[in-house]
């Protein structure tokens, strides 16, 4: 894999680790109201705290919350929602895509018609309508993202599997009378993985971005579990009065996460595409 690919993978792993260790890394628990001091509200970056002598390196928000701590906790929620929904959508899409490719005929026609209709409808609108129905919540947004994204994996898995199923090793496995699930999971699926991983990295970025957008619109996560998107939304009203840090820093962190995912997807694509491998 290219240097850029490795770089983004390592940075992404570091961010994941920071998110996992948020309770130990953050200087305060931003959602424990007892540790907040309203007198520290809306301090610019680098300000000293009034009573306990700590420093707010990235400033504080309207409740006197340390932005750095809030961002670590927000990253935790954003990544958890993104990774979980990506894994679920990948599983659902791959199962349906492989079934469509293997069975062909009406199974294929049925699944692919649903995929076509779904893909003609932008993911954000589908997720928006679903969330409007169910109301905010972590499990609900994961479901909405799953519903909005499975079709991409199904289409990719099907087209990759169709190519693989024509090959001699699948014919040989059939001649050995291996059970269907074993051929699909042990033989066909591993050969489809490079393309699927590229799509997964791209869709992970899309899922995290979509969650942030929906939370910004007030439809995603409840105020008690603020992801990066909600932190950015909270700072919107202060932006016009020049208190930029409440929105800008969570936004920058979000952009770093998304850029890493897209760089990784780019590197994976170049690796999977033999024509591009020499570049």
């Amino acid at each position: 894999m290219s240097r850029r690919g490795w770089f983004s993978l390592i940075l992404l792993a570091a961010l994941l680790l920071a998110a996992l260790l948020a309770p130990w890394l953050a200087s305060q628990n931003p959602y424990d109201l007892a540790t907040l001091d309203i007198l520290d509200a809306r301090l610019p970056p680098g300000s000293a705290a009034l009573d306990h002598g700590g420093t707010y390196w990235l400033g504080t928000d309207a409740q006197g919350r340390d932005m750095l701590s809030a961002m670590l906790y927000g990253l935790r929620i954003s990544l958890a929602v993104g990774v979980l929904s990506t894994l679920l959508a990948l599983t659902a899409g791959v199962v349906l895509g492989l079934l469509a490719a293997w069975h062909g005929r009406w199974v294929d026609a049925l699944i692919m018609r649903v995929v076509d209709i779904q893909l003609s409808f932008p993911a954000i609108l589908l997720a928006l309508v679903l969330l409007a129905l169910t109301g905010p919540g972590v499990s609900k947004i994961v479901l909405a993202l799953l519903a909005a994204q499975w079709a991409y994996y199904a289409r990719t898995a099907r087209s990759a599997a169709l190519v693989e199923c024509q090959k001699d090793y699948v014919a040989a496995a059939r001649l050995l009378r291996l059970p269907t699930w074993r051929i699909l999971l042990r033989h066909v699926l591993p050969n489809c993985l490079p393309t699927l991983l590229t799509v997964a990295a791209l869709q992970l970025a899309a899922a995290i971005s979509l969650e942030a957008t929906l939370s910004f619109l007030g439809l995603g996560l409840p105020v008690t579990e603020p992801s990066l998107g909600l932190l950015i939304a909270n700072g919107f009203q202060y932006l016009l009065s020049g208190r930029y840090w409440i929105s800008v820093f969570p936004g920058l962190l979000l952009v770093v996460v998304l850029t890493c995912c897209n760089l990784l997807a780019d590197a994976l694509r170049q690796r999977a595409d033999p024509r591009e491998a020499g570049r």
Binding site: P122, V129, L133, L217, L239, L240, S247, L254, T259, N262
Partner: protein, 324 residues
């Protein structure tokens, strides 16, 4: 060609019918609008009267049958909040959204395609590498955050451009548009740029990879061997062939621009139908949500149909395949 068109038309109508059923079933489950409409101090009798008045006391299948019947007449019910026909509310806001989406698509095409062509032709030059890196960044920036940063930079710090609203509109054939006045242009610029950024990166990357692909083809080598001028090879032979994916993708992405306008309109307080949708969801205004969804689905189906026809015009292989 006409057989192809008729088949696509029937398909489009079927999708439209399916979507109308799905939209109704989905939206039927949105919470009880009465909680919002009726004064909390009203008694049971008043609540029942309002419920009957809105037709909400009927079982869901009666409501759906009425909905379908009314749909044929272009009547999607009255907005619970505004008291006006929902479809009229949505259609009134549509020109603002379409204006924004068209402006964004034009920006994306005018910037993305030439830059993508350059990156595809000169992949090793430092400028192409820079553009490529920037396009990846543009691909990763969430629309709503970009909008906020634009507001901060151009609206608050520099004070060059207004931060919200549509500005002065002028009537063109009875439709209010912002592009008629300088004030309107100033209001349109930031939201259109925000909305365009992602699509611009997408078109840039698509054009670049299509160009690289086209340059490897035999017809390009042959044209070179014939000694044709490099500009002619690029602008006639290569460009004609990369036009097919560009047209398809920009057509399909136009639908997604309309969808993402929901976000941009909310950030910039642009009075389009996306902002109306977010307000309607917040107020549990079911008829407006249904009307918005049906209008956008109709738009998407029409766009897809137009893209398919254009595709058949551009690519003779599609026409020939459908004839046989």
């Amino acid at each position: 060609m006409s057989g192809f068109m008729i088949r696509r038309l029937i398909q489009a109508l079927l999708v439209l019918l399916t979507m109308s059923a799905l939209v109704f079933v989905a939206v039927f489950a949105i919470g009880d609008p009465l909680a919002l409409l009726v004064d909390p101090q009203a008694d049971q009798h008043d609540i029942a009267r309002v419920r009957r008045g809105l037709g909400l006391d009927q079982p869901w299948w009666v409501q759906y049958a009425r909905f379908l019947g009314a749909l044929v007449h272009g009547d999607l019910g009255r907005s619970f909040v505004h008291g006006e026909p929902a479809i009229r509310l949505v259609l009134e806001r549509m020109p603002a959204t379409l204006e924004l989406a068209v402006a964004a698509l034009l920006i994306a095409l005018l910037v993305g395609v030439p830059l993508g062509l350059w990156v595809g032709l000169q992949p090793r030059s430092w400028s192409a590498r820079l553009i490529d890196a920037l396009s990846l960044l543009g691909f990763s920036l969430p629309t709503f955050w970009v909008g906020m940063m634009f507001i901060m930079l151009f609206g608050v710090w520099l004070g060059w451009l207004p931060t919200g609203g549509r500005g002065e509109t002028t009537l063109w054939l009875g439709i209010p548009l912002s592009i008629g006045s300088l004030d309107g242009w100033r209001h349109l610029l930031l939201p259109a740029l925000t909305l365009a950024l992602f699509k611009c990166s997408l078109l840039l990357r698509l054009t670049a990879s299509a160009t690289r692909e086209a340059l490897r083809q035999d017809y390009v080598r042959f044209a070179r061997a014939r000694g044709l001028h490099p500009a002619r090879i690029v602008f006639v032979h290569v460009f004609k062939n990369i036009l097919i994916p560009i047209v398809t993708v920009s057509g399909l992405e136009f639908g997604s621009l309309i969808a993402f306008a929901v976000v941009t309109e909310t950030v910039f307080a642009w009075p389009g139908m996306g902002k109306l949708l977010i307000e309607a969801i917040g107020q549990l205004d079911r008829p407006v949500v249904v009307a918005y969804l049906l209008v956008t689905v109709t738009l998407f189906v029409t766009i897809n149909l137009a893209v398919d026809l254009l595709y058949a015009l551009l690519d003779p292989r599609v026409r020939l395949r459908s004839r046989s």
